[in-house]
Amino acid sequence: MNHVDLQGLGLDEGGHLLVKRALAAIPVGDTLVVRGSSASLSVHLRAWCRAQGHEFEPSADGGVVRRGSAEVGRWRGAERAGAADCVEDEASPRWGLGARGCTVEAGGPEFDFPLRTRSEIWADDAARLYAQAVAAQWDPGSAIPWDAPFDLPDDVEDAVVQVMTYLIENETAALVIPARFASQVHPHYREVLQLLAVQAADEARHIEVFTRRALLKRARPGLSTTGGQASLKTLVEERDFAEATLLLSVLGEGSFLSLLRFLHEEAPDPVTREISRLAAQDEARHVAFGLSHLAEQVRSDPALLDRLEQAIRRRHDALAATSGLNEEVFDALVLLGAAGLEPLELRAGWQKVQALERDMHEGRRRRLARLGFADGRADELSSLHTRNFM
């Protein structure tokens, strides 16, 4: 006779686990004698068996349970959500939010994740980039020398504040875009989801430090222009993941890498210098993922290059009537490069900004070539990139 002795353990203090375990070991239709000294055991067993679909006969110290078929039946038709250790070419809406490789009960709700094929979103080094990103997280409170003493001439402080104001709105776009796509990625592609999430978290941190620097010595940030916002709006409204990745990560954040390095070198104070350095580290990862993902996608679908080219041209046309980088930002960069208002200093600053723009162009050209664009085409497409940099 199968039996289980709960001793003094009540069914209302976890005793049902022992009963379940004992029932799982016997065939459906067989009986199990349950004994115990808890006063309410028989009452609770009756209620529990009724709810679980088992038959029950009470006895003085427990009762006899005849195993019903409901629990087994519940898992009939269940489906494995892919394998735990590799990604599928396509993820089923039925897998929902289930962990990769888990067993999903049949009949559940279907989730509409629009990005659910490997070719649309996957990059083999997503897991590595994610691990790297997590390891490289820095604390804005302690990583930046906020208390370092410095005192800048008003013009220079104003220039820093204007650049910070510009960076904040650009980084806000860079937060919103991966956050939106994260909600569209099927969770089967977990590493991509995690990478997009940490990318959004990176940008949240950047927004924090740029804001804090802008308000370090001033009561409010600087100016935001129609041209800058129009350029970012075309990015925020981009609905296609591959095209958004190209425009934001490869071209936009790629250009920002040059800009942040420039700021790191030319910054007039230790705070600006350090936040530029740390933000550049993060941006480099975003660029790497974008490149890696798109390169992989182009390998399996060379026609994607045409689509990407059209996206660059479309955005260029949409922005043709806008003024691009705002004059205030441009002038601020020149001033930071000049480190003074003497004509010779300003000339040097001007030349540095010219060099910065060449550096940005060269970076974009190189990355486009890596994606598979021929040299001449890469050069042309780079020059069509928004004059707002991002």
């Binding site: 209302d12 009756r46 009724r50 038709g77 559940g108």
Partner: protein
């Protein structure tokens, strides 16, 4: 509408709409045109049944006995055609605090017993009759404190029982009545922490809801309805959510031999006489 089977049910909770919409869709997919009417209380539903508003009533045990009594007055026969597996062989318990000096039912004399809604078979009528049959008359030998949540729903809403259980833990009543499953549920959710209460007495077994038809129900439609109910398989993922919502694993044939405890209770407490009399008068 002659080929539509109409069912009456009581809206004791918003989920009732989800449940019967789901059944309607499933029946439709299996060739049965099914629709339902919702009533706010069982008395109105029983009345509507005899007025021919619908064919099948999803009746509480008390509504079943009301329908039976009205039928008997009007010379109509009633039949229970199906019920849930979870409607069979229920019991109720009277519980006291673990440290209470109440050891026997007799010790309830002069004390206060918390019960559910006045028309709840499981949390009021059956346990009070059980105590009465053991020798203590409610409202005479002990005080009854009724937690009347949603009267007319016959205790389908678990709120009254929960209030009684909370009152027990707060020391406002000396004992509380509830269905066996809720004693376990209240333990799980922490309303009655494990070990904090002791079961003083347990009632005999009784049955709960059933699908009731009157003698003028469209026979072929009802047969098809019952056949489809019995074909619902918990293993079928399209059916399982419906069964889980309605709280069963499988439908059983209707049986009427386990309403005796409730019948004795309503006789003792004169629970439905006024209602039955009112319907009889209205028919004259």
């Amino acid at each position: 509408m002659s080929n539509t089977l109409l069912m009456g049910a009581v809206a004791y909770d918003p989920k009732v709409v989800t449940i019967w919409d789901g059944f309607q869709k499933w029946f439709g997919e299996h060739g049965l045109d099914f629709d339902y009417l919702l009533y706010s209380n069982y008395e109105r539903q029983v009345e509507g049944h005899f007025q021919g508003h619908f064919h099948v009533a999803w009746n509480s045990p008390l509504a079943w006995l009301q329908a039976k009594a009205v039928g008997s007055e009007l010379g109509r026969s009633v039949e229970a055609v199906a019920m849930r597996d979870t409607d069979c062989d229920l019991t109720s318990v009277v519980v006291v605090r673990a440290g209470s000096d109440i050891r026997t039912v007799e010790d309830l004399r002069g004390r206060t017993v918390g019960v559910g809604a006045g028309d709840s078979p499981q949390a009021t009528l059956i346990p009070l009759a059980h105590i009465a049959e053991l020798g203590l008359e409610p409202d005479e030998d002990f005080e009854v404190r009724r937690f009347d949540v949603l009267v007319g729903k016959h205790g389908d809403h678990v709120g009254g029982e929960r209030h009684a259980a909370k009152a027990l833990m707060a020391g406002e009543v000396d004992a509380a009545c509830m269905i066996d499953g809720n004693h376990w549920l209240f333990g799980k959710e922490g309303t009655l922490p494990s070990g904090a209460t002791r079961i003083l007495t347990q009632t005999g077994q009784y049955d709960h809801c059933n699908f009731t038809v009157l003698d003028d129900a469209p026979q072929a439609l009802v047969e098809e309805f019952v056949r489809l109910l019995h074909s619902m398989d918990f293993e079928d993922p399209n059916v399982r959510p419906l069964l889980q919502l309605e709280g069963l694993k499988q439908w059983e044939p209707g049986r009427t031999d386990k309403y005796g405890l409730l019948e004795r209770a309503i006789d003792r407490f004169d629970t439905i006489q006024e209602f039955v009399g009112r319907l009889r008068e209205a028919r004259r």
